[in-house]
Each structure stands twice: as C-alpha cells, then as structure tokens.
C-alpha cells in the first residue's frame, strides 16, 4: 500500500467517528435494499431474468471482439463517429480533441462512472475546459469538491443541511435552507441555464446494441437528454463491456436495472440514441482501460458483466458502515473492490479485504457475478504477490499454523475464552482494529466441540 493513499481501514475510521451518521447511512442504504427486494419479489420470473441476463453477458464476453466490430460498423452507418481508447489518458485526449476542434471550452456532463474512472474532469480542467456535472447528486459532490460516494446515489453520504450550505455558497439560496424540494428547484434553475448554454454534452452509456449501432442511456432526472438534445456535439463514453447483442435483450436488462438499483419498476427515461439529430455531431468513445486484461483473468472475468446498478453496495454491511469514500476508487463497494485491483494491485490491495465475505452482494447481483468469491480470490493473489499489509501477513501465518493442528486449535480456543473472560483489556484495546467502534462479544463457557461432546455422551 502506497503511503500517499489512505487505506480502507484508515478511511473507515474517519467515517466511523460520527456514530449517528454511520447509523443513518446504514439505515438509508438498507431501506433502498428493501425497496429492491420488494420490487424484485413482485416479478415471479425474477430469478429466471437474472439467469438470462447472466447468460447473455457470458455470451457477449466470449464474443466481445466480434460484437464490438459489428457495433462500430452499424454505429458508423448511423452517422455516429466511433473512437477507440486503450486507456484513461487516450480517452481524455480524444474527448479533449473533439472539444478543441469545435473551439468549445465548457461542457455539460451527465453521469458516467467511466469518466470518473478516467478522471476526465480534472484532465479537461487542466486544459482550461470547464465541466459541469448535471446529475443532481453529482453536481452536489462536484460543488463540495468530492468524488461520488456511490455509483447510483453520488451524494448518499451528505445531509440536506450540508447541501443547503453548499447551495447557499454556490447558488445563492438563503442560508439555512434544507428542504429537498427547494434545493432541487434551485439546482433545476441553475442547471437549466447550463443546458441551454453548452455546445457540447457528454453522457455515459448503459447499453450499446451491436445489432443496431444504437446506445441506451437511463436517467431519472432527464439530465442526459437535456444535455444531448440541446448540444451541437454529443459525446458518449463507454467501457467496451457495455455491448449487448440485440435490441430485444434490452427487455431483460431494463427490467433488472432500476429494480436492482432503487426498486423502481424502470428509470423515468430509457433513451435510445441511434443517429445524430440533423446538424448535430455524435461521437462514441469505446474504452479499454484494463478491461481486456481483466478478460484474460479467468477468476475475475465475470466482473465485466456488471451493469452498474449499485445493489451490491446497498446490501453490503461493510459499505453501509464505512461509506463509499473509504474505498478510495471511482467505483466503491464490493464490485469496486474487484475492479480496482485489476488496475493497480498495490494501490488497491486493501479493498478485497473490505468485506465479510457474507455473499449478500452475489445474491442481489442482477447478472449473477460471484462477487464475494472474487473478493476471496483477489485476497489470495494479493497475499501471494506480497501486497498485503504486514499485520495481515502475520495474522494469516498464525491462523494457518493454528488451523492446521487440532491440538493447537483447541488450546488457542481455550486461551482465547480465558483471556476474554479474565483480562478483557488484552483485546479491548487500541491495538486491536476489530475493537474499534465495536464491543467484543460475550464469552461462551465452552467451545462448540466441548458442547457437542457433552451433548452426545
């Protein structure tokens, strides 16, 4: 782990200092998880849908090169300009060159996790180009100079009073405003002005259809459409894994996406962009940035099936209690912890350990990614390659020694129970990270083994 970046445990510790806020964060996300359950439960064929979605994605990954070629061909025939970017830098350069060609110095952008991954805003700002994020949550974190803490709910960590303060400072709302209705209205007025004055709009892509060369963008706010339909230049950026074979497959994915994300039956807008409007220029940037490498890792390939719904975050007991920023990567939560080490094993060595491996993420995933199993596999890779924190290496060696000998295991168990009972401060101290923000459990009188023996005498 590099010294510059704080690790997940360190960042979680900061988040955990405000206990009331942690509880609130935890409960808010669990409420969204419950809405997801209710919505999924109302579809009798939900599990069949998940299975189909998973199979379609498996198929796409196995023939991705061919599908990308047909997508490109069909998109070009539709009048869209197609670009390919090997990495984040090339992606940023392509976007910049398009803007430069048109002499555009201000752009409006709807939600795109890919551009977060590539740090596009920072890149363009260095080149003197201003970017305004138009999704309300993203605009809020942008004003706060923070990254999004959740891929679907970018400012889920913020209280309405804090948003009121930001809007007072930047948008001139009266001090002390915290009514979501009034704050949203202020953002609407401010962003409407932005939409009406920008010549270029960038959007993300939820699904790109090989068969037709069109791409689909889903929003609730209508911000992607407001930007794209008013601008002279529309740039859509997508990871190469967003391809689906045919239009009819949208039926499967659009049924799953919003229900998994927020419990809504569908997003307010599912917009299908097939051709530029008359007089408009439309670009698509297809980005690799490590995806072809992940494709080659058999154990982690399935992470490329992700449709970015955020369900794994909402359900994750670690995410809910440590907050999205503790993951120090554009995509937080369980799926982010699988994607990040692919790009930089050293910098993100801590992330696969930010999990209880309870498996809840895999159970809610609409495309059936084996998320918790991949987290477990990353841990092995990271330890083997020597990137694990030294405290983890030592404890793992001790654990291996203890678990490989029944005698040592029994003695260790007894000793542990004795310590917890008689000298609790030996574990209830600042050197034990588990004890932070937690109480140690009550001590059982006997081990399971001892109890079992007694019961079966």
């Amino acid at each position: 782990m590099s010294g510059a970046t704080k690790t997940h445990p360190e960042l979680s510790e900061t988040f955990n200092q405000d206990e009331a806020r942690v509880d609130w964060h935890d409960e808010t996300l669990w409420w969204i998880r419950q809405k997801r359950d209710k919505s999924a439960g109302s579809i009798p064929e939900w599990e069949t849908l998940r299975e189909k979605a998973s199979q379609i994605k498996d198929h796409v990954l196995s023939e991705l090169a061919g599908y990308l070629v047909s997508f490109e061909e069909n998109a070009k025939a539709n009048g869209i300009i197609v670009h390919w970017a090997a990495d984040a830098l090339e992606h940023n350069q392509i976007v910049h060159s398009i803007l430069e060609k048109h002499g555009i110095s201000q752009m409006v952008k709807s939600k795109s996790m890919l551009t977060e991954e590539c740090h596009l805003n920072e890149y363009l700002e260095q080149k003197g180009i201003g970017v305004i994020d138009s999704d309300l949550g993203e605009r809020i974190v942008q004003l706060a100079k923070e990254p999004p803490s959740h891929i679907v709910l970018p400012c889920i960590h913020k209280k309405k009073e804090e948003i009121g303060d930001l809007f007072h400072l930047h948008l001139g709302v009266p001090a002390g405003t915290s009514d979501p209705q009034i704050l949203t209205e202020a953002a609407r007025q401010h962003l409407r002005e932005t939409f009406l004055t920008r010549k270029a709009a960038l959007t993300g892509v939820n699904f790109a259809i090989a068969e037709t060369g069109e791409f689909v963008v889903c929003t609730n706010e209508g911000n992607a459409d407001m930007g794209a339909h008013l601008a002279d230049v529309h740039i859509a950026c997508m990871g190469i894994e967003k391809i689906i074979p045919k239009r009819k497959h949208l039926g499967v994915f659009l049924r799953l996406l919003a229900r998994s994300a927020t419990g809504q039956p569908v997003t307010t807008y599912s917009s299908h962009f097939k051709k530029p409007r008359k007089g408009q220029e439309m670009h698509i940037v297809l980005v690799d940035n490590g995806r072809t490498v992940q494709m080659g890792r058999e154990d982690f390939r399935a992470s490329l099936k992700c449709i970015r719904c955020g369900a794994c975050m909402n359900t994750c007991p670690v995410y809910r209690r440590s907050g999205g920023h503790s993951y120090h990567y554009a995509i937080s939560g369980p799926i982010g912890a699988i994607l990040a080490p692919n790009l930089d094993r050293e910098k993100y060595a801590d992330l696969p350990f930010a999990s209880t491996l309870c498996g809840s993420c895999s159970n809610v995933c609409p495309v059936k990614i084996d998320i918790h199993q991949q987290l477990y596999k990353w841990r092995q890779v990271i330890v083997k390659e020597g990137y694990a924190a030294s405290s983890k290496k030592l404890s793992m060696k001790l654990m291996t020694f203890t678990l490989s000998s029944p005698g040592v295991y029994r003695t260790a168990g007894k000793a542990g129970r004795w310590v917890l009972k008689h000298i609790p401060f030996a574990v209830n101290n600042q050197f034990n990270p588990w004890y932070k923000q937690r109480e140690m459990p009550a001590v059982p009188k006997e081990s399971f083994g001892e109890w079992y023996k007694k019961e079966n005498q």
Binding site: K52, N220, D225, H229, K248, L254, K274
Partner: protein, 195 residues
C-alpha cells in the same frame, strides 16, 4: 491503432464461445389486466391518469388543467383547438425552452412499469418531451403490452433516429432520498388512455 490492439487482446483473452440463450422469459405466472396494472404503476410513480370517452374530453381536460400555462403545443393534430396550437418545427431546440405543456401520442405502453415509448417522429423535435414543464401523452388501450419483452417484440427492428421510454415526471431523490418531482425535465406527467 488502439482499435486493433483492443480487438487483438480480446481475441486472445476471450473464453471459448458461450451460446446465447435462445428464449427470453415469457413464462409469466401473473395474468394482468393491462389497464389496471398500467394505471396503478403510473399513479405509483407520480403520473396522473385519465380514461376519457372521446377526443373532445381530452381537449377540455387539458384546457382546464393547464388553464394558467402560457405556451401549450400539441404534436397530435386531432387535439388542435383555439387553446392548443399545433407544434411547428424550428430546428433550433433552444426555441422550445419556454414550453409549458407539450402533448404527444404514443403507440406503445408497458403495463409492468407504465413506460410509454416515443420515437423522434412522434416528438416533433427530440428535446421537446424533456424541456417542457409538463408532459401529456395519449395512448390507445390497444397499444398496451404486459412487459418490456413484448414491448421490444413490437418495436422489432424499427428504424428511428432517437426513441425513448418515458415513465412518469422527471424526478430525483439525491437529497437524503427525499423524492422530488421535476428534476430537470417535466414536473408532471398526464396520461390519457382511450379506446
């Protein structure tokens, strides 16, 4: 350059071909009354539904609900009246920034999520369904289908420049998960379902 590198890397790293599943699930256990289902879902996400008997009733309802609004326009010629002028195309989308009410005709509605399908030719201009303060959509009951699979069967391989499913007024819950209608697009959605 990057194109060929990416494709070459994929061809090398892709797994053995996995077949595409043939059937899309249509084994629904739930038999739905499409109108009731559509109405319930639409009202649940903040839309207002009317079941008028004739076109005249649609006209008078629109005129009375939106009596205070200044710029109303319809892309549905049958609804034109002294109060509801017909949409006129101006290729600069910015000229529609002050539209208060825009009326459209959809030919496809999805009962499971109350989404209505509009294509560019039904919109007049792409920006209109988004930039208007209030949106009104007409849908014939015969245009309703049960779910998204059936919807895409109906869309088939139709050619369009742009098409969108619209389900309700634009909305956000980004501030402490409090639902607010009217994020950037329409503040309200009114749907007329007729025979």
């Amino acid at each position: 350059m990057s194109r060929d590198q990416i494709l070459a890397a994929l061809r090398q790293n892709q797994p053995e071909p996995v077949p595409l599943p043939l059937a899309i699930p249509t084994d629904r256990e739930e038999v739905v009354d499409l109108v009731t289902k559509f109405k319930t879902v639409a009202e649940g996400i903040g839309s207002t539904i009317y079941l008028p008997d004739n076109l005249q009733e649609i006209q008078t309802t629109i005129t009375s609900i939106f009596s205070k609004e200044k710029r109303i326009l319809t892309t549905v010629p049958e609804l034109v009246s002294p109060d509801i002028p017909l949409f006129q195309l101006n290729e600069d989308p910015h000229t529609y920034a002050d539209v208060d009410v825009a009326i459209f005709n959809s030919s496809l509605g999805v009962a499971e999520n109350s989404a209505l399908w509009l294509t560019e030719d039904q919109m007049g201009i792409r920006v209109l369904p988004f930039i208007t303060q209030h949106i009104v959509i007409l849908i014939k009951i015969s245009g309703l289908v049960a779910d998204m699979h059936t919807a895409y069967q109906k869309i088939g391989t139709a050619d369009y420049g742009f098409g969108t499913f619209i389900a309700g007024p634009s909305k956000t819950a980004d501030i402490e998960q409090s639902l607010v209608l009217g994020a950037h697009g329409p503040r309200s959605m009114t749907i007329f379902m007729y025979v």
